[in-house]
Structure formats: structure tokens, C-alpha cells
């Protein structure tokens, strides 16, 4: 029964029911309808179908779909903007922590690599303070207390010369001079960027074996004030920086994902 009616004809019938045909199309279809009983039947079927569909009442929503502030806020409002604000800060924190970690690690490695022989030697002489790369302040202090090892260096000059706190340790020989007070990596870094400290370190009467590399190690801070061995301090610093880097990185990721 439906085989003879083509899809365009069905479309014309459908549009006819909705009064969507142009006058020309409408006239042509009505002519066909008069001549074709099957087409008339098809139109009647479509009309009933359409009427049935249109007879269905609009459903009532089974509940209200009003938005709570949480629904609105979570997905669009203030929370998103605040998260977006926190993201770059956390990201920056993570990056900075990583950079500092690398600096500290490289600095530590460099100092250890350049200084190992004197280190061991002075360690035998002066134990903790000398070994202290970081807390190395003790080195200066102890060194100052060891005149019997040969006061080759008058302490006054370096004391005044270097930041007031730094003490050029009186060291018995070149080796120990090289070794003795080793600053923390931070101190070393400072020394690197403050030429006057370098120059002042050179004023120490003792002949530094290798000024270029060592003078920064001549600086000491707060003699005896730092009870921690330097390597421990560095280790703690490294751990803290790693935690900060990873933690801030994860927090940044979380914030970004939550903002989506």
C-alpha cells in the first residue's frame, strides 16, 4: 500500500498538514490527491499520526530542576575564578622550588667535588665544624680557637672584611685554609655574586692555594651558632624543596582539573 508513494510525496503530505507548502506546491498536491485514493489514504494516516502525537499532554516535571548555588557555583561561578587565580601561583611555586632544588643539589655536588681532600683532612683535625659546608660557621670559630695550629692568619682583617660575621679562620697550612670554613651553599652563592667578598677573602695573609675556587669557602657564618652538620642541612633543604615542588605541582593540577 505504501510502496507507490515516494519519499518526496510523504514529505509533501507532511508539510501540507503543517501548511508549509508554497501555494504552487499545495495546488499540485491537491490535484494529485483528487486523482489518487492511495495518496488520500496516506494523508489520512499521517493526519491521524500527527493528531495522536499532538494529543499527548505535556508531561509534568516529577521534581523541580531549580539550581542550587552549589550547582551554579561549582560549574560556573566564583569558585572557578578563584581556582583559576590559584593555579598560576601554585605552578610558579612548583617551578621555583624545582629550580632551587637543582641549584642546591648542583652547588652541593660542586662543593663536594672540589673540596674533598681538604675536607677529610680538616675533618680529622677539627671534626664537625670544619666539615660543615652549610653550618660551616663552626669551622671559623673553632679555627680561631686553635692558635697552636699556627696562627698564620690574623683574624682581625677577615673578620672586618667579610660581612662582620664571617671569620677567616686561622689555619695552619694551605690545605686547611682551603678547607676549613666552608659556607653553606647559600653563602657560597652569595660569595659568587659579591666580588668584594672575594676580594676581601684574598686579603687574608695566608696564601690561598686556589683563590678562585676557594675564597668563597673562606667565609663562615655565625661561628658555632649552627649545630647541624652541613650535609644534614642541605639534605633537609633538598627534601623540603622536593616536597614543595611536588606538592605545589599536584595542587596546581588538582586546581586546574577542579576548575573544569
Amino acid at each position: 500500500m505504501t510502496t507507490r508513494i515516494t519519499p518526496p510525496q510523504w514529505e509533501a503530505l507532511s508539510s501540507y498538514l503543517d501548511n508549509q507548502l508554497t501555494p504552487k506546491e499545495r495546488a499540485r498536491l491537491e490535484t494529485h490527491l483528487k486523482q489518487d485514493a492511495e495518496l488520500r489514504q496516506a494523508l489520512e494516516d499521517l493526519r491521524r499520526t500527527r493528531a495522536l502525537l499532538r494529543s499527548q499532554p505535556r508531561l509534568r516535571a516529577p521534581r523541580n530542576f531549580t539550581l542550587t548555588p552549589a550547582m551554579a557555583g561549582v560549574r560556573s561561578g566564583a569558585r572557578r575564578s578563584s581556582s583559576v587565580g590559584a593555579y598560576p601561583i601554585l605552578r610558579l611555586a612548583s617551578v621555583l622550588a624545582t629550580i632551587f632544588f637543582v641549584l642546591v643539589t648542583v652547588g652541593d655536588f660542586a662543593v663536594r667535588t672540589f673540596a674533598p681532600p681538604p675536607l677529610t683532612m680538616t675533618a680529622s683535625e677539627q671534626t664537625a665544624p670544619i666539615f660543615g659546608m652549610g653550618g660551616g660557621g663552626g669551622g671559623g670559630g673553632d679555627g680561631a680557637l686553635q692558635p697552636e695550629m699556627g696562627l698564620l692568619a690574623p683574624t682581625e682583617a677577615p673578620l672586618e672584611a667579610i660581612t662582620g660575621q664571617a671569620v677567616a679562620s686561622p689555619i695552619p697550612d694551605q690545605k686547611s685554609l682551603v678547607v676549613t670554613p666552608i659556607g653553606t651553599p647559600e653563602a657560597a652563592l652569595e660569595a659568587l655574586v659579591t666580588p668584594e667578598a672575594v676580594a676581601q677573602a684574598k686579603e687574608v695573609p695566608i696564601q690561598p692555594a686556589d683563590n678562585g675556587n676557594r675564597q668563597l669557602e673562606n667565609e663562615t657564618q655565625q661561628p658555632a651558632a649552627q649545630p647541624w652538620p652541613a650535609h644534614t642541612v642541605i639534605l633537609v633543604l633538598q627534601i623540603l624543596l622536593i616536597i614543595l615542588a611536588v606538592g605545589a605541582g599536584l595542587a596546581a593540577l588538582y586546581v586546574r582539573r577542579a576548575a573544569r
Binding site: T2, P7, W10, E11, L13, S14, S15, L17, D18, N19, Q20, D45, L46, R47, R48, T49, R50, A51, L52, L53, R54, S55, Q56, P57, R58, L59, R60, A61, P62, R63, N64, F65, T66, L67, P69, M71, A72, R75, S76, G77
Partner: protein
């Protein structure tokens, strides 16, 4: 407050204003979702998602028929969900059972003048109707629901499905033709008013 003013207020972040729009349109949105999804729970989820999405995208509303704009959003939400189900066909739903529950709910049979027999006929007919709708491809279902259930004109329907007018016309014709074939067995259930429907209906 009129619709435009409510939309403007909602754009300024006035959630109460938006919720007044929700209350005004939720039956329409839910009906569309139900016709598309064929079951209540999915229709509720789609409706809620549609309103959340509408609130988020309110600044993309460029005037014109707000009704068509909302219907487009809910229709797209339904498309997405239907596609998702197609990809994960572990949750096929036999519409009969769910429909039973839904259709016999008091909301559906809200006509107080109906006799029990009429109610039974009506529910059976409605069930058959929804089953036939469920059998249509989603694109056809969307158009026939928009035009014949929601009463949109062709232009609004084209807006709501994001398709050209010609596409809407042909999809509607094919949907109605398929519905006609599907409903053949249930014509006797039609109430007289529909069975004898004549020229006056257009």
C-alpha cells in the same frame, strides 16, 4: 518580570531569576527529555544537566526564541547520553517496564474526567506511542517531538536541532511515516475524537 528581564538578571548572576525561568520551562524541558530518552530517570538527569548547562552558557543566548534555545540544549544533552549508551550497550532498557511505571503515574493520568476504561486505553496508547518514538533514530525523534509534541514551528525546530529547514521537513516526514507504520496495530485504541479526526485538526 518578563522573560527578557529574567534572562538579563540571570546573566548578572541572579540565580533566583534563572530559577524562575527554570520553573517556567521545566515541564517543557522534561517532556522533551522524556520523549527523547523514553524513561523517567534518564529524563530527569538530562533535564537537570540541561538547566545547569543553560545557566553556564546563558551568555551565548543571542535573543530570539528562548524556548527553542532551551530545547536545543536539552536535545543535545539527550543526544550525548544516547550516544554514550550506544558506545556502552550494557544498559539496554526495555521501555515497556519503565513505561508502565511512568505512564500509570497520576501525573500522566491527570485528566479528572476520564473513566478507568478510558484511562487504561489512554495509558496503553501512550505506551505504544512512546515505544514507537523509542524506535526512531534520535534525529527523527528529536524533530517529531519538537514539532508535534512541543508545538514548535519549522523555523524554531530548525534552530533547536541546529539543522536547515529542509532537513527538518524531511526528518519530520520520515518520522511521521515511521510512526504511522508503527502505530498501525493500535489504531483501534484511539479515542473517537482522534479516530474520526478530520480536516478540523489541521
Amino acid at each position: 518580570m518578563d522573560e527578557t528581564a529574567l534572562i538579563q538578571a540571570a546573566l548578572q548572576g541572579d540565580l533566583d531569576a534563572f530559577n524562575r525561568l527554570v520553573l517556567a520551562y521545566q515541564d517543557m524541558v522534561y517532556t522533551q527529555a522524556y520523549r527523547m530518552m523514553g524513561e523517567q530517570e534518564a529524563a530527569e538527569d538530562a533535564s537537570q544537566d540541561a538547566f545547569i548547562s543553560a545557566y553556564r552558557k546563558l551568555d551565548s543566548y543571542r535573543g530570539g526564541s528562548f524556548k527553542a534555545w532551551l530545547l536545543r540544549i536539552v536535545t543535545n544533552v539527550c543526544y550525548d547520553e544516547l550516544r554514550r549508551r550506544k558506545r556502552r550497550p550494557t544498559t539496554p532498557l526495555e521501555p515497556l517496564d519503565n513505561d508502565n511505571e511512568e505512564i500509570e503515574s497520576p501525573r500522566w493520568l491527570s485528566d479528572p474526567g476520564e473513566s478507568p476504561e478510558e484511562s487504561a486505553e489512554r495509558s496503553e496508547l501512550a505506551r505504544a506511542l512512546q515505544r514507537c518514538l523509542d524506535g526512531l533514530p534520535p534525529e527523527f525523534r528529536a524533530v517529531v517531538a519538537l514539532v508535534d509534541v512541543q508545538g514548535l514551528d519549522y523555523t524554531e525546530a530548525a534552530l533547536a536541532v541546529g539543522a536547515p529547514l529542509g532537513t527538518v521537513k524531511s526528518r519530520l516526514a520520515r518520522a511521521r511515516t515511521r510512526m504511522r507504520d508503527c502505530l498501525k496495530g493500535v489504531w483501534e485504541l484511539l479515542p473517537d475524537s482522534l479516530r474520526l479526526v478530520g480536516e478540523s485538526d489541521t
